[in-house]
Amino acid sequence: MRLLLVLTIAAALGAQTAQTIGNVQNGKKIFDSYGCYQCHGHDGHGGAGARLAPNPISFTAFSKYVRQPTGEMPPYTAKVVSDQELADIYAFLHSLPAPPPVKNIPLLNN
């Protein structure tokens, strides 16, 4: 059953529809409660970990890395974050707007 769900979600998300399958509000909530923000910032803008948003990598690559990271990130198995929750987080990241351009921020042009 789980395998079927994963395949279904992965296939759908592989086609870049994760933002419609996932629940943005729940994704935002668990992005905080599961501590994703600790490394990636509350808005996925990065910090100790990589920047995730806006324009996140494909869900397939995102999911693969979360489950089996090749770097320093600890692995988030399906026992800890379900496939649906992963889709929710992805949908949240996908919903985040682009930041203002540098030229519009005087403080960054000193």
Partner: protein, 640 residues
Amino acid sequence: MAKSKPDKSKLDRRHFLKGTAAGAAALAVDAPIAKAQQAQTRRGASPIGGAPSAEALAAETGPVPAAEVLTADRPGSDFMVDVLTAIGFEYVCANPGSSFRALHESIVNYGGNKAPELITCCHEEQSVAMADGYAKIEGKPLAVMAHSTVGLQHASMAIYNAYAGQVPAFIILGNTIDATARRPGVEWLHSAQDAASMVRDYSKWDDLPISLGHFAESAMRAYKIAMTPPMGPVLLVADSDLQETPIEPSVKLRVPKLTLNSPPAADAGAVAEVAKLLVAAQNPVLLADRAVRTPAGMKLLVELAETLQAPVLSGKFPSRHPLNQVGGRGLIANADLIVGLEVPDLWGAVNSYRDQLHRSSQPTTKAGAKIVAISASDLDIKSNYQYFERYPEVDISVAADAEATLPYLIEACKRLITSDRKSAFEERGKKFAAAHDQALERARTDATYGWDSSPISTARMSAEIWNQVKDKDWSLVSGAPSRVWNVDKHYQTIAGGGAAGVGYGAPASVGAALANRKYGRLSVSIQNDGDLMYAPGVLWTAAHHRIPLLSVMHNNRAYHQEVMHIQRMANRHQRGITNAGIGTTITDPFVDYATVARGMGVHGEGPITDPKDLGPAIRRALDVVQRGEPALVDVVTQPR
């Protein structure tokens, strides 16, 4: 170790001193005489008039007992102050302790509380960390007085930070060696037979002088050792008897001359070998973590980098210089020569490490790359504490102070550079200049992400601070500047605690600000909340001594690194990650640092949660700091 002094001598010197104390002693006899007179009246005089009894008459006309001498004009501690003044200490940091009460009194009265001036501290860890921060700006130590046993126990983490960070500190430790002279009770608890042993594993030198002459010579020796690279903390035990016993007029004391060592530079052969490699290398990189100790050192590092057009990946190097390639991607992997100048963890610089269930590592260098280490660290190394990091495999290892070696290395390189090599260097330099510009632009773009977020992003906080200090003579005394800051002076940044002992940032920043004060520099710190919670009393010290310092709180409401470790373990064990905040966060109740600051007499702003409010809050706080007082802005931030 124990002093052997006959009891008679002690009584003679301490309780019945004649000569210098005689004048004062005369004032001290009134009370006993008055009591004797009353007793006499009660026992022997006739109640109403009449002739005195034979007993009373004998008491009146008999020999008068010698008056106990209770005061002294010149205690040993006065001479100790002479020694401290001769060394040139501006300040002595101390939390009061009875084991150095005489020295404390001599500093504030005999010495007039000037050079050294006593800085009141609320914790011995604060005292030593202030000394650490001060030394990083001033290039020399200030003195610290610490109480025996419990005081040194409090100071110990900061001493370890100083030792691992190779920072000079001069600690005077009160103690009472003579068991027969100790007051009953607490003085026993606060005495040790070998008081400095507790920190001997992580201090450079200590001594227990048993005479004032010995104290003077050992003080000079201690200072000299502390200031010789690799620098570090030293301790001098000031026995309470030595402090409190008056100096007899016949004793001639003198303060010995102090001459510092020249720092150990590399021998000519080693310098020639390294220069040959540097000039021949196609892609050399310089790691300069602790290489720069002085303003001159920064100029020398720039000269070496420019001579070779080699990138500098770490250390005190001007941030806007084209050869500043801190964070440069792939430079280590592409290097054929890596030269480490005072790099505490050279192994870590050339290897990647993966903290997963099976810990693993692999070199980040390419096959055949040569590695050179120039460092004074091996000249003073101990066994127990593992501050020396993993053994690095290198091709040339030079046990010498890097900054002292730089002039010779630069000259040796210049002698070897042919016109062909010079042309190649120029081409190399152009590539790095372009890469530097790109990195700066990338940093600006990176800062836009989360720009308007609440909690406030650390990039926004950093940019807001920079915007208001950039036109002043500033010094960032805690925390790291972001890439957008223009750092080009030695005193504009200081390293963190050498042993990564948390609780260092707040007191070190106050110590550094104390050093900056006489130059009129604006001291700014980016203050972590968890760090401040260890010993927040340092805010009071800053207010009490009018030490101007702008502290901007990076209040992420957690011991963030520890959150990450627990989260890592929870993930590894697949037990759910929602409990990682238990025991690692500082959230319930929320700590209102502006109120804490105000309670200590420091101007407080915040908590600031809306990024739009941050600039005005910093401006108001800066106004206070520029009037010569400390101020704190509490910024509720993203984790990192």
